[in-house]
């Protein structure tokens, strides 16, 4: 097993943990945390493939990971603002009780 296998496996495991949390938890903030974990697992893949790729001097993986981090930050900001807005309306962040988009 090469180091690349190790990095890819840890990334897959982190992705699975985030997915399990995102689909099983009831609190919407924890669901968002799970999505962040999945995004970070993808970032780790970018960096690992860049480092062990045939041409690491090209810097494509690093730039891609940087852009991915920035987009994930924007996603987190908008997601949390949505959750706060939903909380003001429903007085709950429980996803099982937030089941309509109107009223």
């Amino acid at each position: 097993m090469t180091p690349l296998h190790g990095y890819l496996l840890i990334s897959a495991l982190l992705f699975a943990i985030g997915l399990a949390g995102a689909v099983t938890r009831r609190n919407s903030i924890i669901v968002l945390i799970g999505i962040e974990l999945m995004l970070n697992a993808a970032n780790l893949n970018f960096i690992a493939f860049w480092r062990f790729g045939p041409n690491p001097e090209a810097l494509t993986g690093v730039v891609f990971a940087l852009f991915s981090i920035a987009v994930a930050a924007a996603e987190a900001a908008v997601g949390l603002a949505l959750i706060i807005s939903i909380y003001r309306h429903y007085k709950t962040t429980d996803l099982d009780r937030v089941d309509s988009m109107k009223g």
Binding site: A12, T24, R25, A74
Partner: protein, 171 residues
Amino acid sequence: MTAAFIVICLVILASGIAAMTLRNLVHCALSLSITFAGLAALYLQLDAQFVGFAQILVYVGAVAILIVFAILLTRGSEPGRQSIYSPHWLIGVGIAAVVFAVIGAVILSSKALVRPQAPAPEVGVRQLGDQLMTKYVLPLEVLGLLLTAALIGAVILAMQEGHSKRAGGAE
């Protein structure tokens, strides 16, 4: 497979599982920041220094604080004694396990991944800045636009209701 890699992996996995299973939401956010810090350590091990420090700045510094604030602002909704998991949690865990099994099987059976490790590339911040200002300048500008739009959108989403209430009270 160095000892440092194994230790960092154990920290990442333990804190990731804790972030997904703990009952107290603030504890979840704190374990999440430990996961982010561990990932930054992995980036440093992979010779991507700038991405590692950006990870610490953006995730441990900003996103974790943002999540803690969101948790504190929605504090009244914490479940008392009821379950923190959805009723069909077994199906969700099963789906995640299947996804991991598929990805893991593909990784372990792939022949394309077996290649000699290249020597550590000379990647300074200077080269990265050069690339960002020449080859990737258009994506960088688009990204700045996206961040601005997300910032304005988040502010509008989070403040709308109080604003309309105040306007209603003034009438």
